[in-house]
Each structure stands twice: as structure tokens, then as C-alpha cells.
Symmetry: C2
Subunit: 374 residues, 2 copies
Amino acid sequence: MTTSTQSGSGRGQRVTIADIARRAGVTPAAVSLAVNGRPGVSEATRERIMAIAAELRWEPSPAARALAGAPVLTVGMVLARPAEVLGTESFFGAFVAGLQEVLSRRDYSLQMKIVETTDDEIDTFRRWFAQRRVDGVVVVDLRQDDARIPALEDLGLPALVVGGPGHHGSLPSVYVDDAHATRLLVDHLAELGHRRLARVAGNGDFLHILLRDRAFTERCAELGIDAITQDAGFGTRGAEIATAELMARREAPTAIVFDSDEMTLAGAQVLEEAGSRIPEDVAVASYEDSALTRTHRPPITAIGRSAIEYGRVAATHLLEVIEASRSRYGSSSAPLQESRAIEPVLVVRASTRPGGAEPAPAAHGPSGTGLPSS
Amino acid sequence: MTTSTQSGSGRGQRVTIADIARRAGVTPAAVSLAVNGRPGVSEATRERIMAIAAELRWEPSPAARALAGAPVLTVGMVLARPAEVLGTESFFGAFVAGLQEVLSRRDYSLQMKIVETTDDEIDTFRRWFAQRRVDGVVVVDLRQDDARIPALEDLGLPALVVGGPGHHGSLPSVYVDDAHATRLLVDHLAELGHRRLARVAGNGDFLHILLRDRAFTERCAELGIDAITQDAGFGTRGAEIATAELMARREAPTAIVFDSDEMTLAGAQVLEEAGSRIPEDVAVASYEDSALTRTHRPPITAIGRSAIEYGRVAATHLLEVIEASRSRYGSSSAPLQESRAIEPVLVVRASTRPGGAEPAPAAHGPSGTGLPSS
DNA sequence: CTGAAAGCGCTTACAG
DNA sequence: CTGAAAGCGCTTACAG
């Protein structure tokens, strides 16, 4: 009788604020104010109303709320990439996990859509906005002069850009400081005595790849060491070829940095098959940390960007942006458009440290999360 | 003027079916019928209405539709696990990608929530149902005598269970045939001449683990070879210990099968550090295929379950279930409760094949997807 | 095949 | 601080 009758077959027996109002001897409007914690009802009646709502197991109707103009408690994200990347690129799974974690806690849900092109993506934003399907969106895979930025600025849909700095227009963003990450890697290798570094670069369409390109060249120049950037484009095949080409040079590099964990492993295999030992003959490092880099033998030195933390920060920031855009209707404060940087950390492992074992096998703590132990 | 005025600041300028009706000289009800492809309007007026809707860039309001009783075009999934699994367990990322792929195409969205306990999960289902937030749910991580099954049967919320066979009550399910997968692995190793097999088993709370336990013992008995099952519980630490214990036996196994890709790598490291060569001294295989197993040296023989395909099938089936539950109100046909099995395939790699190289490095085609080339 | 009406459950001004 | 009303945008019977 307790639950089964109540939540049974849903034959129109829905409990509404009208039911609560009747029982409490007030109007539905008063119930609305009470359950939303808004001023307009006395503390005593609010408590009475809340008690009745709980007793009746009332659940608000998101549809009715949305129709009446309240937030829909949903944020959107669209991926203009093959669905496979979610499973293949370790970054995305973890990033989504981080997003979900903070969104779920705040009763928001994440709406995802996979499309073919950037135009489709912009179109999706337009439709989501027109339908009031989402309160805001997170934009990933930022490119240089990204068409999505002006489109979103135009729409006025609250948005958070993942990537930067720069190229996110007037929209707020969070980004990992790729220039800093690059310096961490280059400095580490330089300290070990390397004087000829190579970088196997991913798809140059993405902004963060370009930022790495620039920082890599600059930092090496500052330190007076040779820098070779080898473009590998998408995927692991390109990384294999790029690595082979690097090693075929008259003056082969003594250390190679790869733009992703998948590329690193592909490159490492090429090195091993060619008889080069890691790290004795060639040191290897990755811009992306994951289970792949951690479990490889030898374990790979990597930038522990902690994609899950990245997701958490992005969600938190987006929620603030949404909040701000709501209150902006009242007070005319400036839109929230701050940029937030996430500090990268370097996780040193055996792939760059001759004869070095894992730091301290602290029962999978730090090395399991990709975060440094400090 | 084309888009910016139209989709501008959303100051109540929303285009509604009333606008279309006015322009077309019909009632809003007629517009509703027309845009939903329902009978009740002539083909001529339907076309006229559609043209006006397109011209006005009308977008339906999901909130209004939902409030009026139409489907909300959303399916839910809740994870009673730490958020990390999405990034850590390769299965989940790929599974979600598969779900998204078919849902997006059908204009459905996926609502995910991460909770602490199974009770929270059931509670979430109740609330989603009460709020009409989802049209149906997908249930993952099936256990023996799973409390979610009776709860969902009770609710009457369309649901699809991922896992089985059995233990999914009257609910429809899709599952990978773990008994079959087990036979593929055991038979493969037996053919190679192994006569003492071990299985390092994952968390026995999950049904598929129990099904593997049983099938492993049975198949080995049928073939007259020794079977050792070593429980490792959650995570990689357990797998390391289990592997070490197996190798310390007086009669150590000559082949070990692990329940996940992560466990396999952990076990493989223990073997290597102990000086056992793979596959010469010990053959190794995994129930789970992923980038980890493919890129490991030597590459690991695995069940290519293709988590992404699993996700696609699950989404497709759930959509059918939802469809059926809707039409059931009219005709009283039996609820759709069919179980669908996905055939596992064995991907043989060097970890079980002495001296064997990768089949044919066909430019990352088959080995890149985890599907066999046949 | 079409028109006029009620209703879905809530929120938000607007009077008292 | 409270009450009565209008409205959000659609769908669904129910008459013509």
C-alpha cells in the first residue's frame, strides 16, 4: 500500500501541487513558492506544505516547470566526431565522467549528441536553444577561428568552451595550459641531458595542438636545443610513420614527445621493433596520461592532465555561467566570461628515466589516478 | 535578418503552432496533426502547413509536448559505481558511445546519473518515472537476484536489462553469451595443448562473472583438463595477487584467462617480473578487448565483445520496448520481453600463439575495432 | 476531414 | 504575507 498504490500504473493519478494546496488549505501558487524556497510564504506554512508534499510523495513535473519558464536542468554537449572516440580516446570517457559527477550532484543531466560536421553541431545548438532543451552547453575540440564561437555568441545560449587560451571569443572557457605543459616536458628532458628533441604532433586542426607546436619550438630555442616537429595527423598510423621517419634521420632525436597516449604506444612499438631501447636509446613521453601509459612497459612519463578533473571543473564553471545568465535578467551585471586555466603536472616514469623504477608503488594511489603524489 | 532576428535573444518571440495555424488559416489542432504525421488533415493542407512551419523555423517545444502526454524522447541510465569507471573501464566509454549513436539518430537523448548504492538507483528510477523524465531505462551491471528487477517490474517503466541470460525477470534483455565466450577461450587453449588452465575471476557480485565461473569449470571438465578459478575481486591489485598465487602453486597453470583487460595487463606484468615469458611459459587471454589488450606486447588474445556494438544493440532494443509499451495501451498485445544474445568472437593474438605474429597488419582495420576480420 | 475546447502541472506577475 | 488568474505550447478527445 505504501509504494505500489502510489507509484503504480500512472493512470493519471499524479500528485500535483493542486493536491498539496487543497490539503494545506492554500493556493497552488503558495505551494510553488514554498517548494521552490522563494519568499512569499511564512516559515510555518512552508513547513506544513513541505511535510504534505513529502507525505504525498510529490515529484515536480520537469515538463510543466520548463513550460512555465523555469530552467530545464540539462546541459548539452555535442561531438562532431565518430562515436568511437568515446570508447577509444581515453580522454573523453574520463571527461564525461567528471562532468556527470558534478552535474548529477546538482540534479542536472547531460544531454549528448553525436553529429557529423561542425555545421550539424551549430544546427544542434540552434535547435536546442529554440526548443529550450538545455540551459547551456559545453563546447569541446576547440579549433582556431572556430565557427561555433560566433554562432554561440549570436545565440546567447550560455556556453562554456573547453580549450584555449584565446579563440573562444567572449565566451568563458576552461583549458589546460598547453604551453606550460610543453615547458614541463621540454625542461624535464633537457635536464636529463637531451639536446635533440622531437615532437610527434596530432591533428593540427585543434587549437591545443597548435599551442603545443609553438611552445615546443620556443622553449627548445630558449634552451638552445634542437627541436623537430613531425606532423602525424589523426590516429596511430600517422604516429608510426612519423616515428619511423624521425629515427631514419641522419641526426635522430634522443627523446620523443607524443601528443596522445595512443600515439605514444604506437610510436613505442616502432622503436622497439627497430631495436631502440626506451629510455636508454630514446626517451619517450606523452601529453596524455591514461591506463595505456601507466601500464606500458616501461611506464610512460606523461602530463597528468587528469581528464576527470577537467570534466569536473568544466561542469562547475558552466553551472556558474548558467546561474549568472539567469540573474542577469534582473541586475544587468556583465556576463561571466572568465577563463580558467588548469595547471598541468608532469608524472615522471621510467620511459624517460634510465634505470628508474616507479616512484613508490603506493598501492595504486597516485599512479592509478594519473595525479602526482605531491 | 535571416537567422539573427529569428533566433535572437528569445524574448518571448517563440514561434508556436498558433502562429503557423494563423498563417495557414487552420486551427492549432490541425497543425499538431500535420506536423506529427497523424491522420486528420488532407495531404494538401499538411504540405502547406509543413512549408509554413519550415519557413517560420518552428521548433516543437519538448516541454509542452511532454506536459501534454507525448513521449519525452529520453532514455535513462544510472551507474551505481564511482564516476571513474567511465574513464577507467574501457567497456563503459564504448558502450555509451554505441548507445548514443543510435539514440542520437532517432532524436532520443541519454540521461545519465551516477549514484552511490543500488537503493539510490532504484530511487532514481522511481523519481524519473514519477517526473516523466524518461521514456525508458537501460539497466547495467546485472547481479544475481538483483533488487532492481522487481522494482522496475513493479513500476512499469519500460526497461532493458544488459546482462543475462536469466535473472532479468520478465524484463527484456540483451547479453553477451558468456558461456559461449568461455567455451571459445577454453577450447582455443585446449587445442594449443594446454592441460592446466586458470581463470582469474573478477567481482563475483556480477552475474556475468558467475556465468563464466560455471562455464569454465564445466567446459574444462568436459575436455578432461584441470581448471583452477582464482578470485581476484575488484581492480587490478587483486589480479596481481591472484596471478602470483597461481604461479606459486606446485602445479602452476600453463595458461591464464583474466576477466577484464585491466586485470590481464596487471597479471601479465606480474608474470613478466617473475621471469615467465608470454606465451612460451604461460599463455594469457582476456574476456575483454580494448586498446590495452591490442597494444600490449605481446598483443593479448581476447573476446572481442565490441562494447560499442553492445551499446548499439541495447539502444535499438530499448527503443523497440518503448515503442511497444506505447502501442500496448491501444491493442493489448503482450509486453515485449524477448532476450537477445550477442555472439562473442575470439580474437587470437600472440599472447596465446607461440611464435605467432599479428594475423596481417591490415592497416589497423580489424585489430583497430576489436572485431575479427572474418 | 475540420473546429472549438479542455487540460497537462507548473510559475509569474498582479491585486488585495 | 496571501489569493485569484493568466499563460507557457502542445495534444487529445469530442463535436460538427
